[in-house]
Amino acid sequence: MTPAKKRRRLRLVLPFVPVVAVVAVALTAHAFEQTDPAEAGYLAPTSPAAQGGRDLAELLRGRGVTILTDTRTGDALARMDRLGSDVTLFVPAPRFVHPDYREVVDLAPKGATVVLVEPGSELRDFVPPLGVADRRWATAVTGPGPGCPLTSATPAAVARTRYLKLKDSLNEPVFCYEQGLARLEYNGVEFIAVGSDDPFRADRLAEHDNSRFAADLLSRHRTLIWLDLHALENPPPPGPSVALPPPSPGASPRPGGVYERPNTEPGAGSDDDSDDSPPQSSDRFTPPSPFPDWLFWTVVLLLVAGVLLALARGRRLGAPVVEPLPVEVRGAETALGRARLYLRARARGPALEVLRANARTRLAGALGLPAAADRQQLGAALEARLPGRRAELDDLLYGPEPSSEGELHARATELKTLVETVTGARINEGVHR
């Protein structure tokens, strides 16, 4: 590779290096800062880690909340059933809840609260009317918005994932923190989706108003069931799907069993057929496409044709030929540069002096004087040729600096006329030695 080629390649590559470096650093930092729910300490009620939940648990205990920990959804649901409505189910990792369980969380006692930390697409399994709007690169710290009924906290780091209403339900969902916090009473159970895990983490608890926000959300009931999951849990044990009557005091729940309860939601009840079909397909309805099915592949084939054409047309028949060009300099470049310098410096005196000196030499030559003729000699010789103008011509040839552009112009024109009159030739024309 020639040095020139190497330089050109460098010139192409260099601008991208800082960009790539910045992106790489940002990605690394982001990945480093990113919490991983699969880690054992992640929002665990006893973990003292930076991502742990011990501080949060302490905070809640301080508010008089009893914290019970479960590591299986089945156990947690059973416990909720036992404890009744004054209970909060805290799910720090909703995506590790087995899909079969997600469908039945809404069968918890009416009035109970389920807090989901940053649920993604699995939110629809828990609460079909809610869905994910978008996910940001980093958590935004936002205010709760006017009249948020869920917390009295001021701005907190909540909005990373934002939620929206997918379909109508009996109750209208409530959104706070620019839709980073969603609350919907579904089947009598209050579901709260929090768009970020920041407010619960030990290392962020003290930032903004995170601690008050977390405490407000989780201390709505006297008992908190902390569902501590760090891997996708096992499916519920197979067994007859028993439709239990609404749990009544004294009824013994079957731990690990699957509960079913008649759905009281009108939105869910309206499409009866979907109740019979497997729950997976009930909310995955796709409308028929308005385009014929061959369109996509036709377009892809046309794109392929376009790429082929670009390749065929883009292949040059040999590289362009380079050639070093000889140096050429415009004539009179220095003189033109000097003219611009005179102009910029408004060098009226030097400019006129140059013209005067030139005129004196020419006049002396035309009048038969030696080139070194002095002021007196030249004046006398001019007097003889142009009588009566001695003082005027003396001033013209030896006078002071012009004080204005106009005067300079007038003097220069007069000098030119004088030389032309005396020598009888146009100035500076075709004079070669």
């Binding site: 082929l308 054409l309 140096v327 033109l336 003219a339 112009h409 500076n428 070669h432």
Partner: protein
Amino acid sequence: MPTARTAALAAAGTVGVIGGSILGFYPSAVFAVLLVLLALLVLVDRARAADPRRFALSRSGATTVRLGESTQVVLTVRNPTRTAGELLVRDAWVPSAGASDEPYQLRLPAGATVQLPTALTPTRRGDRPAARVTVRSRGPLGLAVRQADHEVPWTLRVLPRFASRRHLPEKLSRLRTVEGATAIRGRGQGSEFDVLREYVPGDDVRSIDWRATARRGDVMLRTWRPERSRRVVCVLDTGRTSAVRVGDEPRLDAAMEAALLLAAVAREAGDQVDLIAADHRVRAVVTAVQGRSLLPRLVDAVAPLQPAMVETDFELITSEVLRRERKRCLVVVFTALEPGALGEGLLPVLPKLAARHRVLIAAVHDHALTDLAATPLDHPGDVYAAAAGTRALADRERIAGALSRNGVTVLDFPADVFASRVTDAYLDLKASGKL
């Protein structure tokens, strides 16, 4: 590499996708099948194309051409493969070589040879190299091409235009006048003894050779002729001032024209002509070449010269001239009347040179300066331009005066008459026997 035909075939495949879909085939399957088929076709076609890397190429033809004239360099292509080649051949030269950039399209049977003439009309003096030959071979179906570059080196030397040749007959006739007239007018037109002849009334009595008269008993007249076998050294300044564009060409080119004309005339006059081209180092030297081969050698030596963006080292030039030329000779320095370059470079060393040799400074006059000095004073700002031009001219006058005081003749003429006037100056010197 695919061709436009491949792309067209792919585009036509959309009909297949739509038709297949109507007939009940999956469009994705049809698409995949078509794509694989197309890829297979392209690969097969590529394999059946003649391998362009194996073609044997060579060149023959002109190696020199005069600037402004056209010539031909023939590219011979042989197909040593067993397949006939559908070829597209591009013979690339540097742009200033003036080659037509149209590629040759041809069919070359297996084992056959073809000659491709490339017409060249160079636009610039100097060595114009061929860049490369690109051979593109197409498959029999026209769906794939293979391409290879071949280096087939060839250099065309473009000689100066030597447009001042047109002055040559006139200068030669003037030379004959100078040489012949001396026989009639006798003394004063040269310093070398020619012949003795009888006195005819009207001859200069001072030329009568009394000794011969006494011997012959008849009044004999001594005749003189211009010196022969004198030496002329042309010094071309290829430094920064030679890059200035005067009229249509750089000053260096005008200097070359003048040097060539001078050399042609001087050779006819029986003088020895040497040439030195230098800036901060010596670029070309032609010395001790006699007779007919002088001009070709000179032209060949100056053809690749280009102006260099450096200050000319006149000390180097002086020492070079003094070293090479022991006898007194005429040194013609082709340079520019640039106060900076000459005042600081040439003036300090000029006495050394002028003491040993007769020096002529020939400078191409830059008309732009005269025009600048004569700027019509229509606006107040024009005064500055006129003053700058006048000052530049005055500076040139001053440097010319300084040079003249060193016993040097200064020639300052515009490019169109430059060559002619420089030769005239040489002829004048010859006629007056001052060589």
